[in-house]
Symmetry: C2
Subunit: 238 residues, 2 copies
DNA sequence: CTAATCAGAATTTGATCATATTTTTGTGGC
DNA sequence: GCCACAAAAATATGATCAAATTCTGATTAG
């Protein structure tokens, strides 16, 4: 295995005309994925030095990436100068549920008005992979494909500001989501995507919004229950 | 006047036990204010070099500040390496109105449940300064005090995630708000703070939420009208 | 003969890194 | 148990390299 997780587009066959991606963006993207899909546990510390070793990048681009993620709620300034993956409180999860409900259903409604046939095909393809991940019991794949479905819907909606809010919300519950799924497996996970797809095909904005709201609330309630139980998060130290 | 706008807490009498504020936070705070209160016009370019001269800081902390503000929607990546103060589109303003309505009324409801007597006193004090700014016709003071009122309410609500969203929304419409107020003066500006204060004193969450919703919608509609007219923003080149 | 366009040079700006300075933390001796 | 010292980590600066925009001037079309 490649192992180190270093950056850089490898020595092989550097795409010529590709507009090269700045290091700070690569670090940002990598760290963002790590948070979004729970590769970093809630409460875990994120240090500049650690990222220098992990990525091989210099310190300036790493600082920029950390600041960005902090502003987006993916990371949290903890007092002195320690940065950690935030842990969800009960109040926080309520606010996240509220935000996902309102923002995501509005995005869904927008999407229903603008969606095209190729978009629907793409969504169906992603949803098939969600199903496959569930039957396979592959938590990591489920998280990624489920997010891909929602992200595609955001892209169709074409509302950058709402999308920013939605993405920030995902970053905030991502780590906890992973912990919960890790415990419960993929059996009880929500998948109202079929209903949403039907509504999208009919270009029915309200029905689409309702389907997504249902999907969102079901998923988020599982996190809330697990969090209130206290069992799911007992291993993450403060 | 102090003139240069340089950072640093001056040579005089450096507060000993004050935990000194990192440069990147100072730059962030300064730039944030500039956007929030319209000292930078929509469409205006923001360069690293320019900020180095303006603030006297090194380039790393300035980069960090710019990344943060970009993530918060106060600035916008434009193409390859140009960062500008974003200009509002008609679609964007609709989304901002929606977000302010939903998020800010929820914050207001939270605040109504948690507010204490000293908080109310503080809010009344701020609101008095809002009134004074309006009668004086001082646009800049109005913008600052009006924001202070809402910010204080957010602080009372004690819901960090919702507050982040609200702050991001303010940063996005701040520059346009300034342009609109500059044209119209302070006469027709909304001030439903009295109604909100009455509701807060009664700890009536729903009434508080409604009052704030009213205040928000009134203010935002003015921006939308001005933006759709096209007159208010004609001087800002693309 | 004027004006517009394009190529190449020059200047400006951004990206990254290496280094110095300050702060925090951890450890051992008193 | 507390203070001092040492090691580690974060902050901040400036230098260096690369890329892009702007500027200039010449050539050509009208």
């Amino acid at each position: 295995m490649e192992g180190t997780g270093k950056l850089g587009q490898g020595s092989e066959h550097n795409d010529e005309n590709a507009p090269r991606v700045p290091v700070h963006q690569q670090v940002y993207a990598q760290l963002r994925e790590a948070v979004l899909f729970g590769e970093l546990a809630p409460g875990q510390a994120v240090t500049i030095q650690g990222l220098i070793e992990r990525t091989g990048a210099g310190m300036t681009p790493i600082r920029e990436a950390i600041r960005r993620l902090t502003s987006e709620g993916a990371l949290e300034f903890r007092g002195n100068r320690r940065v950690v993956v935030p842990m969800l409180t009960a109040d926080a999860i309520d606010d996240l549920i509220f935000l996902r409900e309102t923002v995501e259903s509005r995005l869904a409604a927008h999407a229903a008005e603008k969606i095209t046939a190729p978009d629907i095909t793409a969504l169906e393809k992603i949803d098939a992979q969600v199903d496959e991940a569930i039957t396979r019991g592959d938590v990591s794949a489920y998280l990624r494909q489920n997010f891909a479905f929602h992200a595609k819907l955001y892209a169709v909606a074409n509302a950058p500001i709402l999308m920013d809010v939605a993405n920030s919300v995902w970053l905030r519950f991502g780590p906890s989501m992973r912990v919960v799924c890790g415990r419960m497996g993929t059996q009880n996970l929500p998948d109202n995507h079929k209903t949403a797809l039907d509504a999208l095909k009919a270009k029915d904005a309200e029905a689409t919004a309702n389907a997504m709201r249902e999907d969102v609330v079901q998923g988020m309630e599982q996190i809330r229950e697990a969090l209130l139980d206290g069992t799911a998060f007992s291993d993450t130290i403060d």
